[in-house]
């Protein structure tokens, strides 16, 4: 099959390689000429514009969009919907908000264009060697592309999730859970690290990956991280967040579902980005006001 891939960042590039390795013809494009050049050097077929991509692909055309959610995906997908025709297929494999995908699918449908929202998990390794895909949209469209999805996903790692938006909804919640797992691991290892014992944290992660209840890929990655840097001395505890955990909490609010663990996982990331906490300043000031507790001056 011939397929266009827009966005050759870490995920898009590796998915393109994965597709190519599985015998598909990929036309890759990235708005950065440097990225295009680098991808060309690795043997991918690169085009210089989306127009060229659309001109190169046979009808009905299949274009996979793998760009950052938000402004980038809005611009790219909006552009595609203007340029493409009935029966063409747009795949959004990024981390778009599921409501955007619902909207875009409806917009596409007005022109007879098919739209699939594909939540993609597994990180770089998965993109390259076998991803986990959660796919929303019309079932018949999914089935038409099923061979592609099967090819690039790991055995069992491809799910038709339901109508439009359901793929990104699943990915959103997946990331919410992921935030919770990661924060739980972080908390546990901090307790170990500051305890009276002198644990070898890589060894601990290793034993927990062998037979324990919490064995998991993230624990394997924890083991790997501690093997590289036994006490994580060389990195700072600053953690950005993309939007999915935030959306999970907001969606949970809409549904009146309590999600304290997911919410706190996100908030502790936000806290990690603060040099100083204004909340804490207020509390320190209040203690000083009523109890004369000394404050740390700046």
């Amino acid at each position: 099959m011939q397929i266009g891939m827009i966005g050759l960042g870490k995920m898009g590039y590796n998915l393109a390689l994965n597709l190519a390795n599985n015998g598909h013809s990929v036309y890759g494009f990235d708005r950065s000429s440097e990225v295009r050049l680098a991808a060309k050097d690795k043997g991918l077929h690169i085009v210089d514009s989306i127009e060229q991509m659309l001109a190169s692909l046979p009808h009905p055309r299949v274009v996979w969009v793998m760009v950052p959610a938000g402004k980038s995906s809005e611009m790219v997908i909006d552009g595609l919907l203007q340029k493409m025709k009935a029966d063409d297929i747009v795949i959004d494999g990024g981390n778009s908000h599921y409501k955007d995908s619902v909207r875009r699918a409806a917009q596409a449908d007005e022109k007879g264009i098919d739209f699939l929202d594909v939540g993609t998990s597994g990180g770089i390794a998965g993109a390259n060697g076998g991803a986990c895909l959660m796919i929303g949209g019309r079932r018949d469209v999914f089935e038409r592309l099923e061979p592609i999805f099967k090819a690039i996903s790991i055995q069992g790692g491809c799910l038709y999730a339901g109508e439009s938006g359901s793929g990104h909804f699943l990915k959103m919640v997946h990331n919410g859970i992921e935030y919770g797992f990661m924060q739980a691991i972080g908390e546990g290892f901090q307790v170990l690290n500051q305890s009276r014992y002198d644990f070898d944290l890589a060894e601990v992660a290793s034993v927990w990956n062998n037979g324990s209840v919490i064995r998991s890929w993230l624990m394997e990655l924890t083991e790997s991280a501690f093997k590289k840097d036994a006490e994580l001395e060389h990195i700072r505890g600053m953690v950005a967040s993309s939007g999915e955990a935030k959306w999970t909490v907001e969606t949970a609010f809409e549904l009146e579902v309590p999600v304290p663990v997911i919410a706190l996982s996100l908030m502790m990331r936000n806290r990690s980005l603060e040099e100083d906490s204004f909340s804490a300043k207020v509390v320190a000031a209040l203690r000083n006001e009523f109890g004369g507790h000394s404050v740390v001056k700046k």
Copy 2:
């Protein structure tokens, strides 16, 4: 009435003044000679040792202990129980753990000594001008000293709480709630401070103290703090904690009562003391492992 006051720190000193201002004879002692000297200069009757205090007081003797909970109060109260006699009264006005008070009351009782655990709230201003007292122990003992308690507390601010430990139990929970109030205020003002609007935070606190649902003494103190330093530029957001909120959460765990707000208020204080968070390092390392997300190097 004649009464001994052991511990002349911020709270003990002001309680002693308060007692003296209400016509009671106070024999004050502090283990620091500097503190004793300072208190003597302010007109308090100071003794040079606990022995001298006990020798000076008429029987049955009443000694109010106002020293830091933990090792200090254990040592002082243990010493008193050894030196005092039947019908003497020990008052622990500090923030002792209520279980310690239950134990000490039983130890005292073995010698016929009476023991009251007195939770004291209201800060320095309250200690000096009218405290809030929550008192546990035998009711008849409380009643014997009621005039003293009434004298130094504000109108309505003196409660016989119940059997031994109940005074400190109330104070413990009071502080748990206080932590929650303070953290809620801190969070709210941080949102204001980082918002698109240019709020005058002292004015906001002021309007909230006049007619709003959240009018409160802590909001008045918030107003006061922002009047001194409009954006709290001169203090750092580092907040220590004494034990009561921790004990509240631990007690809640025993009772299987969920106390997320009190627990988080404490944890955010703990977080405020960290230069860098090991938990966050772990999460940053994990994101790097699976997604190639860059970490901030040290």
Copy 3:
């Protein structure tokens, strides 16, 4: 001054009374004829339609909207903006989202209509006897109506907060803090209630209102509630939520400000509405899977 009041529910009705008691002429309207009739019986001047209200008021007209945020306020305000003219003034005194107020102020401005967003706190008692008002919009418009705002607010309880949206922003955050206060109080009293001691909860709330650090209007209301029903036996622990705490958390997410206490206060309300928790079912099922821990069957 003559002023229209749309919405005669608990808040609008009492604000109208308050205005009338301060010598202003109020034309009241509510979409429910029953509510209109009841208000007429209490002596308020009632009109039968918004059109009649607008026809009755002298130019420039001032209309205060006090209807539920969301669909109702959108419909009412949208209608007003269509029917009103340059220099008229619309006041939204409800709990609208501040972004809606920013948008509405801009829409009003296109027609030369002035728009103020007024956060109103203090509950029913405040609406009637002296509210707390936080007002956003153009300063000169605020100043024109200042006598009205001053009349119905308590001394010191009227703040010009800044440009459009700032009044509702303040009210939003106020409610976030309020949620935190209330949850903290709830947690504390639950610990007391399930403790080994037999506390009289009304007495506890009472002593805390006299001299303690946590004295506050909400603690006074706590005292009042326990005086009516000593153990709250006659009510169920089900707590709905309007939107402000949710918006506070969402705004905090946008600003990357951690607000764990406000978020948890909201989530515990959501939890209180669940008969059974699906999350908890999942956890119960998992414990059964790995450890054979028995589950409670339905």
Copy 4:
């Protein structure tokens, strides 16, 4: 090797089988005669008393204790330390508090008895077919028994953790993380379950186990649970907790490590056991007090 196993519940029984299957001679004891009988029927060598067990074992004797932490383990281990002699070895494989293990190891040491604290994970399946073991105590004692530990643990699933208490410390933190994982999964699936989409939750868990970032044994168990009961209709969301997560939080408090996710995971379990929440009653009563919001009557 010959070894005694005290406690033939789910974990002890399966560990005994596991040992027997690996060629070790196990003398099993349980204080319940029914349990003893059942174990005998399955071919285990059962003794009728701890005295008989001690009499049957060759010196130096090795006894593995697998009874509930707390009173049971205190009684059993205390009894063993009285009856056993120098060079005998006691293994506590249960979920004892690490500080108890530190204390018991010291008590044992006074008599020359060796004591190992062994955290055991992996559930019933692991106990039977290959557990994960985290072992604290003297290294030479560990090494003497290493063949046993290796035999019953999965490849890589046996760690000498360090001095006394470190095995149970690791297990404690392991369970804290486990609570966090489970709550995160529960929250995520509740959001899915109450969403607009009609997800097949077993299929979702399945796809997430194939290539996603959150693939894990607990997600496999989630898949298994949903395959048995697609919407968990037949179980109630009531989740008890043993002590380890509580201890993790308490330990974190001691170390001033923030552990919001672990704490909330525990608190949501506690919340799940409440028919009605007193906290929520208080909040409902307060809303009624200030805003006239209706309460649900009982």
